[in-house]
């Protein structure tokens, strides 16, 4: 079957698949950029907000028997709660610590969550979360059918990106920017840096939760699935954020989509003999961006 597919067909498939997986990466990248802008932290627990949401929603759906919409809400709440807890228990006590220490701390949070998932939910290891809609063939792009679930991912990404853009033009959004750039001055004009910090982590966790809840139904999920492994979104998400310049929201969206496309080029037949071609491509694009254009495509500050 694969033999018969022409190179152009493969390319268009890669493009379509890439944009959709890239949508998940863009959601993760947005959360990473948000936290980096506000706290200067590389948040290695970002993808784990998503897995927490997925496990919570799964439990609500399968064990508590709640309706699908409520289950999703439970998932989002769990993810956001984890984001707020991380901010309160880990980030705030380490506010003055070097940024690299905070990085280790968020990685610790990620591993803790993965560990707890292994502990509580490793039997069975692979689980399936029901999709929002089971329709697989409604939409066709370049002759490739795109499931409704994947369309929803892109719609949600567009809505969040627009929402964030509006937010950062509102007084609340400007307060976040002020608190991140001039914390002392912001305090003086009445912006509570603590509340802003909580708010940012909450929103970032919301983005992570959406990434998890929307991407999990596409395949199965297992402990830590969004951080590492075949469907890991953390490294592509980071790469997307870096491509976008680490501080730019539009950059994160574009970067995330780009990484999705570049990564799916690893599925081309020409690269069939190379094991792990996808992660190779992601690693290469991260390295190239950091060396050639460290400020990213849309960023201003240098890396």
């Amino acid at each position: 079957m694969v033999l018969g597919v022409s190179f152009v067909d493969q390319l268009s498939t890669a493009l379509v698949i890439g944009v959709i997986t890239g949508g998940v990466y863009a959601l993760v990248a947005l959360g990473l950029v948000l936290v980096y802008k506000a706290s200067g932290v590389f948040n290695f627990a970002q993808a784990e907000f998503g897995t927490v949401a997925v496990y919570a929603a799964y439990a609500a759906l399968e064990f508590a028997g709640l309706p699908y919409g409520i289950a999703l809400l439970v998932g989002v709440s769990a993810g956001v709660a984890m984001g707020l807890a991380t901010e309160r228990l880990i980030i705030r006590p380490l506010f003055d610590a070097p940024r690299v220490t905070l990085l280790v701390a968020t990685a610790g949070v990620a591993l803790l969550v993965i560990g707890v998932q292994f502990w509580r939910a490793n039997d069975p290891a692979l689980r399936v979360l029901a999709p929002i809609s089971n329709e697989l063939e409604r939409v066709r792009v370049f002759g490739i059918s795109v499931s409704d679930q994947r369309i929803v991912i892109l719609l949600v990404l567009a809505a969040t990106a627009a929402g964030l853009a509006l937010f950062f033009r509102s007084p609340g959004g400007l307060a976040v920017l002020a608190a991140s750039q001039e914390p002392t001055a912001a305090e003086l004009v009445g912006v509570s840096v603590r509340r802003v910090s909580s708010l940012t982590w909450g929103v970032a966790a919301l983005l992570g939760s959406l990434a998890g809840l929307l991407s999990a139904p596409i395949s199965n999920f297992s402990p830590g699935f969004l951080t590492a492994g075949a469907s890991g979104a953390l490294i592509p998400g980071f790469t997307g954020a870096v491509i976008g310049g680490m501080t730019s929201m539009p950059g994160a969206v574009v970067g995330g989509l780009l990484v999705g496309i570049v990564e799916s080029l690893g599925g081309l037949n020409a690269l069939e003999g190379i094991p792990g071609a996808r992660s190779l491509l992601v690693f290469a694009s991260l390295l190239v961006v950091l060396l050639v254009r460290p400020q990213g495509l849309l960023g201003r500050a240098a890396a």
């Binding site: 290695f44 610590a97 940024r99 690299v100 502990w119 590492a228 094991p275 992660s279 390295l287 950091l290």
Partner: protein, 401 residues
């Protein structure tokens, strides 16, 4: 060679000097107040000397320590008889100690984080296995090649990745680790693919007990190198770079050069650790070298206590024994975790490790190193000082290399 090589020699005075005697400089005396402050800050000259009983007490503890490290795992002069599995566990503790020391050089001395150290250890393991089984060489050559490949890898990756700041370096190493795991480790001609590769015990070593001493010998080598690193110019240069990069540069220290050097030393140690890891089990597969393992490596180093050799060794050994379930068995906690908490012992480090890490970072920055510092001082003939080794924060500076 200039005048400063012998400061007492004096320099021919330039013409403008009123006093052309060329006598050694006599610095203006510091005032009494300052002198007193200086004396107060300097350590007391009267050294503490333990009494005879004190020496005997220390001797007993030293002997006990030596027995635990040298005799117990080999069933020598030991009332208990360890199984081969337990001896392999002891070897793993030593191997983890080497890996912990490897990360300590990078995180503790150079202030850089590697989130891809599983790749360094894994490549070391496969390299040594390849040299021994494919090329038919001796184990020792396998270890040497693995260590050199580790250093070379660090040179290549660090030469590129250390052009960016610490956060981005960590990100690159993370991506590198996953890339190696998913790509390189699946190249069948190098790693044997899913089946993995044989890695026999060294010739002349017949059992898991004997292999423990091989590991111990290499740990001694790594400790020696680490000790000399901290006591010579490279260690001082790294300390200066970490604490005050601007000053370091004005003293002629090449910041990026020394950071890459530290990464290479770290890669060298990790290569040794990887080789020992492979030959301990008799074979090596890619499966254990995951992102989670890389995080466990970081955790055991930080919890052990950055820049404390004894702390890092203990912390790493602790995590190795905990992962094996040996520690839980020793503490009779196995049943508690398996039955009461329903936490299988293989996942105990994954849950307890991050908790310990977060506690270390937020509340107890000196880690295990801080715990053992008073004991260490006492063993070396000092007073038992409860506050020895106190650390205010886990210091990892964000150095722009």
């Amino acid at each position: 060679m200039s005048a400063v090589d012998d400061p007492t020699a004096g320099h021919p005075a330039p013409g403008s000097e009123p006093d052309g005697s060329g006598l050694p400089v006599e610095a203006a005396p510091i005032d009494a107040e300052t002198a007193a402050a200086v004396r107060a800050a300097a350590p007391r000259p009267d050294r503490f000397r333990p009494a005879a009983a004190g020496w005997i007490g220390r001797g007993v503890v030293w002997a006990a320590l030596a027995w635990v490290v040298l005799c117990l795992p080999g069933n020598i002069a030991s009332p208990v008889s360890l199984s081969a599995t337990e001896a392999r566990g002891a070897s793993e503790a030593v191997v983890f100690a080497i890996i912990g020391l490897s990360l300590n050089v990078l995180i503790g001395y150079a202030g850089q984080i590697s989130l891809g150290h599983q790749a360094f250890v894994g490549i070391g393991a496969f390299t040594s296995a390849f040299v021994v089984t494919e090329l038919g060489q001796e184990f020792w050559l396998g270890v040497i090649v693995a260590a050199l490949v580790g250093a070379l890898q660090a040179l290549l990756l660090g030469g590129v990745a250390l052009r960016v700041t610490g956060l981005y370096f960590a990100l690159i190493t993370l991506s590198y680790g996953v890339m190696v795991q998913q790509s390189l480790f699946n190249v069948e001609s190098l790693t044997g693919g899913v089946a993995g590769r044989d890695a026999p015990l060294p010739t002349g070593v017949s059992s898991a007990y004997g292999y423990y001493y091989v590991c111990l010998g290499l740990l001694a080598l790594v400790l020696w190198l680490d000790w000399r690193l901290t006591r010579t110019k490279a260690g001082r240069a790294l300390l200066a770079v970490r604490e005050n990069p601007r000053v370091a540069a004005t003293l002629g220290i090449d910041i990026r050069g020394y950071t890459v050097l530290a990464f290479m030393v770290s890669g060298f140690f990790a290569g040794i650790g990887g080789a020992l890891f492979a030959h301990r089990d008799g074979f090596v597969v890619a499966e254990p070298f995951t992102f989670q393992l890389a995080l466990i490596f970081i955790i055991m180093t930080v919890v052990g206590g950055l820049r404390s050799r004894s702390g890092v060794v203990l912390g790493s050994a602790f995590f190795a024994l905990m992962g094996d379930g040996i520690l839980l068995k020793l503490l009779r906690l196995e049943g508690f975790f398996e039955n009461v908490v329903k936490l299988p012992s293989e996942f105990v480090p994954l849950v307890l490790g991050p908790l310990l890490l977060l506690l270390t970072l937020t509340l107890y920055p000196g880690g295990i190193g801080q715990q053992v510092a008073p004991v260490r001082g006492w063993l070396l003939g000092g007073r038992f000082d409860r506050h020895a080794g106190a650390v205010k924060e886990v210091q990892v500076t964000d150095v722009r290399a």
